[in-house]
């Protein structure tokens, strides 16, 4: 009886329904916690561009949320650097991964502004989200620029499926620290960003536009380079607009 086709078909169908119910049930029940975890993780990534990973790791989720809301304000701009003030548009809600599929001119570009506690005018750095392709899947990150709008204050990089131990190392503090203090514009004001080099172990202290590479992960490194170049290009108008008046204020 157990070998009959009817039995097998009915057995499989019933099993599929039971397991399907179990799975959708667990997804339903756990959904709210997962959403919360994802939102918290995004905040951590944004903050990671301006404060160290150890500091973030030491914070409880409540502290992260409190710190984020007291220190980060945000705006959304378009590719020409103009602020998008449409109803319902907020930097936290922009899904960069979805926007990435649109042409660069049509995307919304969130900017996260790190400011002194409770003083939104006292800007300490500007944080720009980025998105691109690694070796296997998407990579993304947040780049913080100091108020000179040229010096990199910090960067967080993340990935969906880079090779552990190789490309996945972009998430490590040791790799991300290499970007700190580098410049995205050259002396003439042209956008050159920062290029991760092939090979590992060389020092690029003297070169403001090069960082040491990751051995065995050149393609992931190239992905990071392309992402930086593309997104800094998209934000260039905004960055330039912010840097000129600032320089004047500083001179006064």
């Amino acid at each position: 009886m157990q070998q009959s086709n009817t039995y097998i078909i009915v057995y499989s169908a019933v099993l599929t329904i039971i397991l399907g119910l179990l799975l959708s049930g667990s997804a339903q029940v756990l959904g709210p916690w997962q959403q919360e975890a994802i939102a918290l993780d995004k905040k951590k990534q944004i903050l990671g561009a301006v404060i160290s990973a150890e500091e973030i790791a030491a914070m409880t989720p409540e502290q992260v949320n409190a710190f984020y809301s007291s220190r980060i304000s945000s705006t959304v701009v378009d590719v020409t650097g103009k602020e998008i003030t449409k109803e319902g548009v907020s930097a936290e809600k922009v899904e960069i991964a979805k926007d990435y599929k649109k042409p660069a001119e049509e995307r919304a570009y969130p900017v996260f502004i790190f400011h002194a506690e409770g003083k939104p005018d006292q800007v300490e750095s500007y944080i720009f989200p980025m998105y691109g392709a690694g070796l296997w899947d998407a990579i993304w990150g947040y780049l913080a620029l100091d108020t000179d709008m040229n010096t990199i204050g910090g960067i967080t990089l993340a990935h969906a499926a880079e090779t552990p131990g190789l490309g996945a190392r972009i998430t490590e503090a040791k790799v991300q620290e290499r970007y700190v203090g580098k410049k995205i514009f050259d002396e003439s004001g042209a956008l050159v960003t920062v290029m991760m080099q092939k090979g590992e172990g060389k020092k690029y202290d003297g070169d403001a536009h090069k960082v040491d590479g990751m051995s065995g992960a050149t393609i992931t490194g190239n992905g990071v380079n392309n992402m930086l170049k593309a997104y800094m290009g998209n934000y260039e108008a905004y960055i330039k607009a912010k840097s000129t008046p600032k320089a004047v204020v500083a001179a006064l």
């Binding site: 157990q2 070998q3 039995y7 097998i8 057995y11 499989s12 099993l15 599929t16 397991l19 179990l22 799975l23 667990s26 997804a27 756990l30 916690w33 997962q34 975890a37 994802i38 918290l40 993780d41 993340a158 969906a160 499926a161 552990p164 131990g165 190789l166 065995g216």
Partner: protein
Amino acid sequence: MSTETLEKVVVVKPSESLLSKRRKKLVTDPLIDDNPITVQVLGICSSLAVTTQMQPTLVMAISVIFVVALSNFVISLMRNTIPARVRIIVQLAVVATLVTIVSEILKAFAYDMYKELSVFIGLIITNCIVMGRLEAFAMGNKPYDSMLDGLGSALGYAWIILTVAFVRELWGSGAVFGVPVFQYVSSWFGPDFSLATNGLMVTPVGAFIILGLIVWVQRTKTGYVEH
């Protein structure tokens, strides 16, 4: 039909205690003598990939213990109803469901670990230890015994990957569970002294070497030879 036979068996030998000698052997055998990694050489892929640090390795170990023990238990409960022709698919479906649930739980409550382990949690489905135990044991034994057998195999897997992770994290990153041991130790010897870490340990190659050494030591001790 199946419940009747089960009851009969229970009546015939009600004396076997929950932790009888035979049952203890089910758990302890795979720890050394029949270790899934070092003797059966199963589950190598994940043991190489996740073992750069202790913490994700521990999470991986717990997940595997959960999946193997529970899938053995569930499949053993179902064993008399499973049609022989689709048994592998049925086993896979059960294993995949359990693995997905583990992955969802991690995503909700340990998001950092979920990110770090990423594909490797999903890949527990293809871990040969799981299917191996289902086919070799759970399909022909009672639920409780099957669960113990799964627990044993998973523990055998767990201690090996934890050992590999300990060596790799200590030597590769100078830390244990993220605590920078090398830094502390270096500071005892004065400010200029620092223990060097070895980058090889961070790559999968390091795991191969450590695993090879463990197999060597173990086989020297137990005298196990492959035929």
